[in-house]
Symmetry: C2
């Protein structure tokens, strides 16, 4: 890895510097070529750097901010008053080329709005989308988008999400001609809202895209598609439902109510089974798969869970590093140029 | 139970009479006061009744139909050409008072449209909603609606769904002053689309309703609410995602790939653990919790899964019997009269 500089909104998320700064130090310790610009209140960041040794310390720069966008602020107002905020400055560092990516655990709506305002969407993309990869039962992964950047999406946006998701599946998951499906409330062509059926018609006509049809929520983990496309409301509901069900199951399996009654051998088996499930789906644990990418911008913006732990925020930084190495924004842009030359999707 | 007559669309679903007729016989064997009107092609139904003994046989009437609405038909066209179809005749039997409820595993959109057209929504309700109950981790249940009858819902519809869901939680689950939440993509008041935030404001002002705020998809099984309200797209995605994840987990736990390696004691423990999970969440299995109610109509209409097995379809008939006994439509109507006297929600 050559020299790599990332901007971190150190104030974002439920915990701010006590989580983001130790996570930053973790990332710096793992990557000797990494430099981090920590944006926030110097008084809160500086003391947390004390324990770092000098080889790490010299790769950290504190960029002072004057304000913090609250996690529960309405995005429109937050954006209007964003001047001098840690999130905005982190994005400006990206825009000005001083950083190769920006990571924030702050207000999703504000991050989406500010990133769109400052960086401007890639040509051919109306609105960026939040994307992540979810493991499926056949030991592969599915690209899922949008996860909440756009509560609603018309057919044009769904088509654009599909194109971006396909590039992500090719580049990040290494799947040639990835299968792309639309999330719907029925598999038959006549099912669901008109804008989804309309997107399906457009996707079917694209010879550069391997569109496979509608899939229902029950297929999220079955590996029937490599890319699953929906609006941000449905994507958020589906992903969070999945997380909630998995958490419930893992808790039930090792539920405290049975601890006293459980014999040692039963305990061992439960632990081994939980291990097996965790191995396959543990990455769904927010501590391990944290970091959704905002696709459709000329720069790399990574959104961390607001409630991310130190370990989880370090995973989000790692995610940003991988995105820079793979240069996803550039590849999406090239792909769109190819498609735009053939049809009018924008 | 006094004499009870139900209309069954014997042709609906993926399998038609080979599933619906044996299921009907099962229900008749369990309930000696039950009478069923089986609507469909006599040639296909009659032979399947042969194995029934006379005490059951005399409680079955075949009502001939001339056509069947296909599961994959577009609802609007299907409704236009519905005259003489098994689904429409079954609903007409309900409308004319010859049956106390109607059960169909057919096309959801057509059933919703035809039921609304023939029965007319309850006063104060613009559109009926599909509802079910989902078990949660604290050994209780959550009422979830809409599940797909309305792909989108404005704030007025969400408020009406909330009122109907609350009546259902009181009457079916026996919960006094049930907690009601709106499904959203964030818990803070400023999060999510405008129509959901608007519904929240209306619900907060209703003193007869215990509105508790927004919940995310991750809370579906946590028991933080007794009623979870959303549009049919989000509800369908959430419910199906939950079903898919649970199915995946139960399969993983008893996955065939490990069978040969598994010792007898391990096998026993796995079976006992699967039993424990099934006991709590097995009712989520479509074979066991089948049968969503269409709420907001003066009559009882039960929608079965299209792919329902014989056992599952019998569960849907059972569901209809319980709904008749509890007289949910009348109770919703009375509740709406109370609320409508105080505010303008219609």
């Amino acid at each position: 890895m050559t020299r790599l500089t990332l901007a971190v909104d150190a104030m974002g998320g439920d915990f701010g510097p006590p989580v983001t700064v130790p996570a930053a130090l973790q990332a710096l310790a793992s990557h000797s070529q990494l430099e981090l610009l920590l944006v926030g209140y110097p008084d809160e960041i500086q003391p947390l750097l004390a324990r770092a040794d000098s080889s790490i310390h010299q790769r950290v720069t504190i960029i002072p901010a004057e304000s913090v966008i609250a996690s529960d602020a309405a995005p429109s107002g937050a954006i209007r008053h964003s001047q001098g905020s840690s999130m905005r400055i982190a994005l400006e560092l990206l825009k000005d080329g001083r950083a190769s990516a920006c990571i924030s655990a702050g207000n999703t709506g504000a991050l989406m709005g500010l990133a769109t305002l400052l960086l401007r969407p890639t040509e051919g993309i109306r609105r960026p989308a939040l994307v992540t990869v979810v493991p499926h039962i056949h030991r592969g992964h599915t690209v899922l988008l949008d996860l909440g950047a756009n509560a609603s999406a018309d057919s044009t946006m769904l088509v654009q999400f599909a194109l971006m998701g396909a590039v992500m599946a090719e580049e990040v998951l290494g799947i040639p001609a990835p299968r792309v499906a639309l999330l719907n409330i029925g598999q038959e062509a006549c099912k669901g809202p008109e804008h989804i059926r309309h997107a399906a018609v457009t996707l079917e006509q694209m010879d550069k895209l391997n569109y496979v049809g509608f899939l229902e929520g029950s297929e999220l983990l079955t590996g029937k598609t490599d890319v699953l496309v929906c609006d941000g409301f449905a994507g958020n509901v589906s992903l969070k439902t999945m997380e909630g069900v998995i958490k419930t199951f893992l808790n039930l399996m090792t539920g405290t109510e049975q601890t006293t009654k459980r014999s040692w051998w039963r305990h061992l088996v439960v632990r081994s089974m939980k291990g097996r499930l965790m191995k396959r789906f543990g990455e769904i644990d927010p501590d391990q798969y944290n970091g959704a990418s905002l696709l459709g911008l000329p720069g790399i913006v990574i959104k961390s869970h607001g409630a991310a732990s130190e370990r989880a925020f370090a995973v989000a930084i790692e995610h940003a590093i991988q995105a820079v190495v793979r240069n996803i924004p550039e590849k999406i842009s090239v792909r769109l140029d190819t498609v735009l030359a053939r049809s009018d999707i924008a």
